[in-house]
Subunit: 425 residues, 2 copies
């Protein structure tokens, strides 16, 4: 039962935290790179020093969630160990070592009237992060926000509440010894979904919302947010094996894209195969996938070619399985592959395997996705692999930031004009 | 009376036009710079050739709107003349002459695994433009969209409906002789506000919404849109005259910022004056403003200093007058000016007048706005003055594009990875 009174109290609490973050953001915007890095080091040290409390809190989450019969993989992602905490702290120090993206003059030019204009990078202000179980996201988000001089309002899931609480206590304890206000990190502890709804309507305090998690969470935030959102993560990714593909390379890439880590957004979900290579290549490729535990769902032509596989339904083409299932479709040519991707893809990552440069160029040009590859696995789409040194998520929208988002994605810019009395005539 | 049936018909019609734009956008994305420029030239020529029809349609709008007793300035902005049509056509040709911002490799680097990654500029897809009376916006939006390989769905106001219709007929007639599909320009002719509501919820067809007009229109779109929005234009801009200001320069800039064109978003609304220069400078500055027809609304200290002016209320500090009214406040120092702007400003354009470089640096650093000036008029914030060669609006948000938006603001990018079989180990 969620009464009007409770709702009002919750709304005010979320507003209070958002406003505190806004005030902290203004203060944070004035800190130097050195002050921010010192704060990050203190955060990392405090995480390690609070290892005991964090592990204890995490054990509570794990035992509660285990009792509900959650999947082993889910519990694994939720579980912290001393080694994982150390590795999370190392991650904070890795971000610390990156160049400061704030206060950089990106461009500078003189107007015809003599005014010298600079385009200078600035923080966004307050970032709200709405995410599901993994507690390391709490540290990642706080770290990347602080490095870019942004305050952050964290809203994790109920499953990781105790872990998130203990982590934020540790992070803020670190900040208390620094020049950065501890209020720059806010954790919304309410697990009522209303707390999300309030947060994403606070346009005067929140500058950006980043949802990270399942398709349903992302969809709900995108639908209701009044604050600008960066949509992340849903990846119905395809690998297209062309008539001119090198067969061993094709098999290696398809296996990697599907099985190396099936639960992530850049894993492949559908295999598209040129009709002329299907008879020779497809049966052995599907056998190799099946040997690695992959369930195949084929189009009519695939089922004809390879017996004993399940038929794909219309729904399969649009599904992000996130597990060891792969839809397979034989197409007449690259154009049909491009059309299939345009219809069912989620604009995340798409790959073509071919030795034909012309076919590759057509695919790379015409497929509309954040990342398109020629002869590489979809799994490469990642901020660390891309050399950004950090990743706050992978954007599947076209505004502001697209694809793997590093520190740059958490910045804006302002124009600074130096004049000597110029006016408009 | 707006029945459910009518609503359904309207919704389907808007959806049909949005889908047609989406299909046209895919085709348009494949056109070369030469094909796009040829199309722009044909659009410009067709506008001039259709001068008679456009003027006739515009005369209907003007007579209908005049009958409602609209303000003279409003009717003036609505009215087209042969010279204005020529100048609008010249504007199309000016955009044509700009470099093509699409297909540009912005960055290129090699991953540690050997994959060569390019960041390549791409169109956004379909842009919905929701705007008020000025019919030249119809041409501007269509031109900038086409130059950036985007399709556009235009939703103008009832006041300019006949003019917009005639203009779009002319533009599409031009496109019919070109390689660019005429469906790339769509005009929503319904003036029901529901047509806007449907449009801003069509996330599968529309990639970006740009509202251009009054604060109420912008607010309504921002509140309800599910499609990403770029917020434009509300400008409660300030000029701060510091203790170290050069007095003649201060007067010249304040007069320019307030009176050169008071109806636009980059005109100044509030004057902030350092208490130590107020006695000598303020009386004569306000006199100069009053001589130019400006009504002054002063804070208590200002009213004490200058007799016979109206008192400013709390509401005045937050008002974008867009007319010859100026609020005036005496402040103790630059810090109070910065705080006042943080509280009441709309993050558009703010200016400090001072000969003190340190004070200027503090203001430029700490004021959060799209554009901050030292010793220049707020009126300079403009895509043409900035040398962008075009302007689709002035963004007052921090995501994607900030400040004057030229062609670049209508682009996104994709990463293109060239591999030789790379996978994630």
């Amino acid at each position: 039962m969620f009464s009007t009174d409770t709702a009002q109290v919750l709304k005010e609490q979320v507003a209070t935290q958002a406003q505190a973050a806004k005030i902290a953001a203004r203060e944070l915007a004035r800190k130097t790179s050195e002050e921010k890095n010192a704060a990050l080091e203190l955060m990392a040290a405090s995480l390690v020093a609070s290892k005991h409390e964090i592990l204890q809190a995490n054990a509570q989450d794990v035992s509660r969630v285990s009792a509900t019969g959650a999947a082993k993989s889910f519990i694994d992602r939720l579980t912290l160990t001393p080694a994982r905490i150390q590795s999370i702290a190392d991650g904070v120090r890795a971000v610390m070592a990156l160049p400061d993206p704030i206060g950089v003059t990106q461009e500078r030019w003189q107007l015809r009237n003599g005014v010298l204009v600079e385009r200078r990078s600035v923080p966004l202000g307050v970032i709200a992060m709405i995410y599901e179980a993994r507690p390391n996201v709490t540290v990642d988000a706080a770290t990347l926000a602080l490095k870019t001089s942004n305050a952050v309002v964290l809203r994790g899931s109920a499953d990781a509440l105790e872990s998130n609480r203990a982590i934020v206590v540790a992070l803020r304890e670190g900040l208390r010894a620094s020049e950065v206000p501890a209020e720059a990190i806010q954790l919304i502890e309410s697990v009522e979904h209303e707390s999300v709804e309030y947060l994403i309507r606070m346009r005067d305090a929140i500058d950006l919302v980043i949802p990270r998690g399942g398709a349903r969470l992302i969809q709900a935030v995108v639908e209701s947010s009044v604050v600008p959102v960066i949509e992340t993560g849903v990846g119905n990714c395809h690998v297209y094996v062309d008539v001119d593909a090198q067969p061993e390379m094709a098999t290696k890439i398809v296996i990697n894209a599907k099985t190396q880590r099936p639960s992530v957004c850049n894993a492949a979900e559908t295999l598209l195969v040129h009709t002329d290579v299907a008879p020779q290549w497809l049966p052995q490729a599907l056998k190799a996938l099946q040997e690695r535990g992959v369930e195949i769902r084929g189009c009519a032509r695939t089922c004809q070619l390879v017996p004993d596989i399940e038929s794909a339904s219309e729904q399969d083409w649009g599904t992000e399985y996130l597990e060891l299932i792969m839809a397979v479709k034989i197409v007449d040519d690259v154009q049909e592959a491009i059309e299939h991707i345009a219809r069912y893809g989620t604009r995340h990552t798409e790959s073509i395997i071919t030795e034909n440069e012309e076919t590759a160029a057509l695919f790379l040009e015409q497929v509309d996705a954040a990342v398109v590859y020629h002869n590489a696995s979809t799994r490469l789409t990642d901020g660390f692999v891309f050399g950004f040194g950090a990743e706050i998520g992978i954007s599947t929208q076209k505004m502001h930031a697209r694809g793997p988002m590093g520190l740059q994605a958490l910045t804006s810019y302002k124009y600074v004009g130096h004049g000597s009395g110029q006016v408009i005539e």
